[in-house]
Symmetry: D2
């Protein structure tokens, strides 16, 4: 799901609540908009291996002056994670260890790629591809056995889609079939959704052809696993990439169908 | 197309024709069956960058004793391509130059991968994926504007499919749309088919998800380019991966549709 | 320096001291002998980027039952570094984050290399190369301006050699000259030795040619920096690689000199 | 050896000889000066794997209008090597095969590195390092068993040095010792010098530390193989990197020795 961080901030402000606003941006930084300062977030954490398209091994923490002050006041013992030490150059050099420089070189290239495509274009691409995924799941859900975890479109995530599977079925089998027969690796359900859902990741260096291939694999796996679903999910996903031609070029659109 | 090399050999034998039988196996070695000795081929050439899944830069020549004897008799001047020199170890070391060892390391790994999967399994995978491609094109061809270049299934190639496009349309635009909008690179028509066809490669390290994503991109491109086609090509391609369930598990099959 | 861990253990045992025995093996694991169990070490930490020949980014902790029990008793708040969580497979999977798998693949290969060469052979190689370094420094120290930090041979480290530089000179200039003119990166003095020493690393994937080239660069840098030293350090280092031929092959040895 | 290409050109011109001037620049392009146009060379061939610092697999041919005209007149049958075909873009695309693009990406980076360092600086570096090699060999030759193949300094090559070994000794053993004990790979003698010489390559991405390490390995190998030589070759090689300090900083130089 996509959290409305700005709205949470507003509520905190309205009730003058002193809590720090913490955001886990691991699966969203670089895929959807995030505004640390404008939304007055206090602490945001992210990682290299999701929309930043780098190998796992790096994480990032951004801290507001308010959070820093809270850390100063805290009496909790700390060393490696001590923000005060890490803000000082000498401390970092001498006591925070050897930096994983190869991962940093990779991140440097990833950031160059982000700048080359442009953040706005990247957000638009993620939105487009996420819409394709949701269009497919909406069709499949017509038979009542699977459904999008996000009930409201506005709350759906543009970086990963969780699909719930009816209680009569074992969601894990879908993952197995996709991986073993089609070389497609899906995520499993987490926590209470373990065995009850699968997740389709669509963030980072991902494009239409990849996601259509993924959706086709899922559609085939649903059939193979005997999980009821309306056919045509991939067709609906393809449809989302087509210009809404009817008005613009009626002749061409007719010809095309 | 797939040539019936064995049949050509039989005809040559029947008419006692002295011609050498030469086979260009560049786009087929490692994708479909090839039997140099059994089919009594005289010269076969292949390359690293197709079904052998390696960077371009290496080519391979296999030569029969009969072809070697013909080369001995030939008075044509030659040096680098002289098979006699290359058969001798000393000549190769001293006069054929520095071997491109990095490409050879890559080829070594590719051959390990081939042996790990097994040639029979590789041929079966190529046949399966080629069938998916042809199933999609058959559906698209229902509107009369595109068709498979291979008229007979038995002559179709399992490593690349050529799709002809009606004279009223420019096939090159399909390639442009696939590359620019969907990151999918198709081949163009060659020779007399330039601008009149596109080619979908499906050899080497390729799997169902990749080819379904590719077919979805082509189906979207046909719509975008206004080229008439029956919808449902990708569905037909997915169908080829499903077990023919009706007999085996009738209940499950019903549920799945 | 090389610490005599086993001796420390003996002393602790003799006086029945309850302290845990902690070993920082970052710069020694894989270069010299280390016996966690035999020496009854309680906690050892190591890292990937030294003698394990891998990119920086991984560290390793080995913990004795006694140390684990102490951690259980401790009331200090902890989460990421909590050994109890990390010992349990489920905790690790769910709450310790995404493993840096690319670094793990590299480590896998490094361990294969270690097993191929054999630990005994690796220790012998490090000892041999360290002797070459010390032989060179001993010669240079004849002029009184530089000296080995390790006074006793038995305490010298086989993975890195620290060379002290007389107060009249700036050790950092030696590092600068080596790096800028000879592409050789030395370490600087740490802590109280900052600016007063340089360090020559010789651990991991290092061989005689590399270390002789390094020593030649240092010898040239000493000249360029005007730091008094007896010439012939590299000769002495080369000498350590020669069989003590005089007895075995007296004739050949004579001929060779 | 370094050929005086310009002088050969002058002689050809003086005697009005019609021969084409062909230059094999494989081991020199990018290491020493070469001027195709100014020296009026007709054909030059080079390769990727020497001073151009790339994997083997690419070769380059530069052809003068005079050589092209000669090729036009020639009746010799040719196809792959036909310059006329390769000069035309369409011919290349359609009939000269798939370009080894990964090697071209590597070459692109190598050329960037060449431009970054600058050709003049690269030539100066090669000259400097070659001088170091020759200084070492000159010292070793004092015992009469080894000597530089190039009698005159002006004719010595700055990219590779050939060292002849007296008839009483087997030069190949030196290569074996260097490779097996010190991880240093020397070249062997070619043609009439097989077994009678070894070659030290010093072109491309090479620096002082590398070459000093190499020379130290050779000096150790000479001792191990019992080949008479004056000691101090590496010292002489180091000496070449030192400023001729006596005049400039007499005091410092004294201190340093």
């Amino acid at each position: 799901l996509t959290s409305d961080v700005s709205a949470v901030r507003c509520v905190l402000d309205e009730v003058r609540h002193p809590a720090l606003l913490l955001v886990d941006a691991v699966a969203s930084l670089g895929a959807i908009d995030f505004r640390m300062d404008e939304w007055r977030v206090d602490v945001a954490v992210a990682a290299s291996q999701k929309a930043l398209m780098s190998p796992p091994g790096l994480s990032f923490t951004s801290v507001s002056p308010k959070a820093l002050a809270a850390a100063e006041r805290s009496g909790s013992p700390r060393y490696y994670w001590d923000w005060r030490k890490r803000r000082s150059e000498e401390w970092y050099d001498w006591f925070c260890g050897t930096a994983p420089e190869h991962l940093l070189f990779g991140l440097r290239e990833a950031i160059d790629m982000v700048e080359e495509e442009g953040l706005e274009a990247i957000f638009a691409r993620h939105a487009r591809i996420a819409r394709a995924v949701r269009a497919a799941v909406e069709v499949w859900s017509g038979a009542g056995a699977v459904e999008l975890n996000a009930r409201r479109e506005a709350e759906a995530s543009n970086s990963v889609s969780t699909v719930r599977v009816g209680k009569a079925f074992d969601a894990a089998v879908i993952n197995d079939v996709c991986r073993e027969r089609f070389n497609v690796s899906l995520g499993g359900g987490l926590g209470r959704l373990a065995g009850r859902a699968f997740r389709i990741g669509h963030m980072g260096d991902v494009n239409e052809a990849m996601i259509w291939g993924t959706l086709a694999s899922v559609e085939a796996a649903l059939s193979i696993c005997g999980i009821p679903h309306r056919r045509g999910g991939v067709d609906a996903a393809i449809e989302t990439a087509l210009p809404t031609v009817s008005a613009e070029h009626p002749g061409r659109a007719d010809a095309a169908r």
